[in-house]
Amino acid sequence: MNNRIDTTLKADLKKFGLQSWNDCFHCGNCTALCPLTEDANLFPRNSIRTMQMGLKDKLMSGVDPWLCYYCGECSDTCPRDANPGEVMMTLRRYLTSLYDWTGLSKKFYTSKVWELGAILLLGGMVVLAFALFFPTINPELTADGGVRINSIMPLQWIEWADWTMGIIVAGLLISNLMRMYYKIAFGAGAVRIPLALYFKEAWQLAFHFSTQWKFSKCDGKRYWLWHWLLMSGYTIMFILIMVFLPWFQTEEIFEVWHPQRLLGYYATFGLLFGLTAVIIGRIRKSNAKFKFSHVSDWLFIVMLFLTVLTGILVHFFRIYGMPMATYYLYVAHLAVLVPMIMIEVPFSKWSHLAYRPFAIYFANLRKAAMKYHEKTEISLATT
């Protein structure tokens, strides 16, 4: 069955921030220039071609867009100013929305109203919750003059809220990942993957997740470092508050070198540094990958930045015993934190944190599977 040329896809993609879809005349410069490409993954050109021809299925069953870390070199040297890097970025947004079964992701990506609305709504709910359950707060200080952070709301409650949020997010992410896996493993041009391989290749996940190794192959090691700081800081913080909240958010203020604080500080630093770098980059448009900023890009950065900022303030206020400020900021902190996690992680930009390593994993699986099949065929032929 031939696949039909589809002209509607590009219109769809424009909503996801596609600049121009047809500038590319397929000289293959981008693909050859990119240090991450190999025979099995000839992006960006191939993805661009698929996009141009509107071959949706092929697009969905492919992982290529996730393998691109957007160093921007292809866009700088493209003879037709077709901006391959940005196209790949757009495709990632598009794929994210495809993987998401709730359809919210598409809404958030394609309409500012929806995204902002959702954020405000969640933020409002948090504030409301506090206002409803704890209209009055009696400021208490610890013996050593710190603010009793948990007297605003019992840690238990927070933890419960925390867990529920965690479960929802996890649920969404996992279900979406399943969909992604399904599309890739059984979509157009899929290869049958023997079970053993899943385990053999599993280490890829952890490795690429923790190191972003492929990114470091792109021209600027600098960008990789920024990105890694940001990402590691985020992850640590994420785990601390999601999993180890009781251990992290303690009444007593430990010594500076206490791992709780060190970890906290590291994460904060990583986030702050990475964010600042990105913000400056995007404002200055210093590099091709920063030239075009979709709403979702900005929103995410801003919210993360606010979260970090409020977090830091809360931290210092409570150390220096300023109860009310601490409590109000704590509420504010949660009011940005919650929507950020609830929206960005499963539906928007931050989901690539999950998709990318899995994409690499799946890509390798496929490669391994192909090799495997070849081998078996050969052995069959020989016998």
Binding site: C27, A32, T37, P79
Partner: protein, 598 residues
């Protein structure tokens, strides 16, 4: 004058081609012309969708539509479609194309538009009497196009001044080895023509000369040519070459595209015309610091004069043919290819010299090496490269450099590939292209022949070249076979594109020729005319008007000559009025005359 049908004018501009012309102002101007019912400006009043146009036509009861702009034709079919729907005669869709008349100012734009509205060809309206034409002609640039033009005119018994900025005529063609697709050697077919020029009684050859001033008017130009000092008496020099033998100063040879060294006193190449030596002052030790002077001592004909000065030559001519040619793109600009960093990454022109029988290695393909003095040169001895890659579209079809297609690179690359196969049958040759533009007579056949010769032809633009231990590695996507190639080769030839000469702008201003955004001289495409500029006495020939291969340049050289001959034989040439008001009056007058006739 006759009544103008109710007309709508559509000003088809997009921001890219405004050229400093303000559509609003133009719109205001047009509105005042009687009979103009409606004026739209593209994008703002109307985006040309046939349905919208149709309603507009009906609403304003229009019978006729004029589209104006640089490429109004882009929208024409939309309007003719609407006109047809409205049951009107689509011949009433008129175009006022600014590109057609090389319009650059608002007044010209107005004039063109005005003429179109009155149904008068703009050139007709510009015409204003005629001027006597002097029979002498100036040809600027003695490449193949210039030579051709000069010979045509001189053969018909008219005086020609042929000005060449370098020391010899022949231009780029003289540097080539073979010519595609026939593979006959450039020198053998060109040198006889050069000799003709040298010996022609009607051609006065001025080498080392550059036009420095233009006075007078159409048909009677007063040109000043600045002739650089040669330091060698052209009439006395017998071309024995003793001076050059003895000269101690080495420098890169321009004629050999810097693939080899020449002396400070030199002759560009053995068959140079005039076949006389010259001193390049920058490198002459005597002229620089009063030392040496050996050549003067050894010259048997005593024709060397260090006190020679630049001098101005004043001539009067009736026609000028501009054939200043091109320069090749400097691939050093593209950092990914490491040209200038890796010795065996060559430009096609360098390679052209390398494989030339009269080149640095006598036509043997050798590695480029560094000599004792640190110059990069080719030595006849030494080993041969076994794998050679050619990369197309260097600096062409690339918005970072030149967007246009240089037209000749595909074919000359195929030619080079063939020559390599001929000289090194065992070698592997790789061609990396984007679109194979084998368009000319016998070109496609040649392309097929090369394919059969076992040259690897790969669709894909090489992205970067890396050098490890002498080998060069090219990273390319083999698009048609869906794979990446990391090809290791010994030598890379960059098919560099053509660019306007660096002094093109100066000359253009001097002669009042207009230029494209890309820098090539702009012809008035009136009647698909490739040779003429707005001045009836100044003509274009060869690559200076846009990339061309040899036969096209030759043809254009002759074509320019034919216009010159027409002017000379007629004895007079049309002169133009430029003032907007005069043109308006003229157009009105002409249209009324036409009324009377019909």
């Amino acid at each position: 004058m006759g009544e103008i049908k109710p007309t709508g004018v559509f000003l088809a501009f997009n921001l890219s081609d405004l050229n400093g012309i303000d559509p609003m102002e133009l719109g205001e101007y047009v509105k005042k012309i009687p009979g103009i019912r409606k004026v739209w400006i593209s994008g703002e009043e109307l985006d040309p969708d046939p349905r919208k146009i149709l309603t507009e036509i009906n609403e304003h009861k229009l019978k006729r539509i004029i589209l104006a702009g640089y490429e109004p034709g882009m929208y024409k079919s939309a309007f003719s479609y609407a006109m047809n729907e409205a049951g009107l005669d689509i011949r009433d869709v008129g175009l006022a194309s600014f590109s057609e008349y090389a319009v650059k100012t608002i007044d010209e734009a107005k004039a063109v538009l005005y003429c179109t509205i009155f149904g008068i060809p703009y050139p007709e309206a510009r015409k204003n009497g005629s001027a006597i034409v002097l029979s002498e002609t100036l040809v600027i640039g003695a490449g193949i196009a210039g030579i051709q033009a000069a010979l045509e005119i001189a053969d018909s018994g008219n005086k020609v001044y042929l000005v060449e900025r370098t020391g010899t005529i022949g231009g780029h063609m003289a540097m080539f080895d073979k010519t595609f697709p026939t593979l006959d050697c450039a020198a053998c077919i060109l040198t006889p023509k050069m000799v003709d020029v040298g010996q022609h009684p009607n051609i006065e050859l001025i080498t080392l000369g550059e036009v420095s001033e233009l006075k007078g008017s159409t048909g009677n130009f007063e040109v000043t040519i600045n002739k650089k000092a040669r330091y060698v008496d052209e009439n006395a020099c017998i071309g024995c070459g003793v001076c050059s033998e003895k000269c101690p100063q080495n420098t890169y040879s321009e004629f050999d595209a810097s693939t080899t060294l020449r002396k400070a006193i030199y002759i560009p190449f053995p068959q140079a015309v005039p076949n006389k030596y010259l001193i390049d002052a920058e490198n002459c030790r005597f002229i620089q610091e009063e030392k040496c002077g050996v050549c003067q001592k050894v010259c048997p004909a005593e024709c060397i004069d260090f006190n020679d000065q630049d001098k101005d030559i004043h001539i009067k001519v009736g026609n000028i043919v501009v054939a200043t040619g091109f320069k090749t793109f400097d691939p050093g600009k593209i950092k990914e290819f490491g040209y200038g960093k890796f010795p065996n990454v060559l430009t096609s022109l360098e390679f052209e010299r390398l494989i030339n029988a009269a080149g640095p290695t006598g036509g043997n393909i050798r590695y480029r090496t560094e000599d004792k003095k640190g110059n990069w040169v080719f030595k006849p001895k030494g080993s041969e490269p076994e794998r050679i890659a050619l990369i197309h579209c260097i600096g062409s079809r690339d918005r970072n450099y030149n967007e246009y297609c240089s037209r000749v690179c595909c074919m000359y690359s195929l030619k080079l590939a063939h020559l390599v196969k001929e000289k090194l049958p065992e070698s592997e040759v790789y061609e990396y292209y984007i679109d194979m533009r084998a368009f000319g007579k016998g070109y496609e056949e040649f392309y097929n022949r090369i394919k059969e010769e076992g040259v690897h032809i790969i669709r894909g633009r090489t992205a970067r070249i890396a050098q490890e231990d002498g080998h060069l590695t090219l990273r390319t996507e083999d698009i048609l076979n869906h794979r990446l190639i990391e090809q290791e080769v010994d030598m890379v030839v960059l098919a560099v594109g053509l660019e306007p000469r660096s002094d093109a702008e100066k000359l253009a201003d001097l002669l009042g020729i207009k230029r494209e955004a890309s820098g090539w001289f702009l012809e008035t495409t009136t009647g698909c005319d490739q040779c003429s500029t707005l001045d009836q006495g100044i003509h274009l020939a060869g690559v200076c008007q846009g990339p061309k291969d040899i036969p096209d340049s030759v043809a254009q050289g002759s074509a320019a000559a034919s216009k010159v001959l027409q002017n000379i034989i007629k004895g007079k040439v049309d002169t133009d009025i430029s003032g907007l008001h005069d043109i308006e009056l003229r157009a009105k007058e002409l249209s009324s005359i036409m009324e009377d006739e019909s």
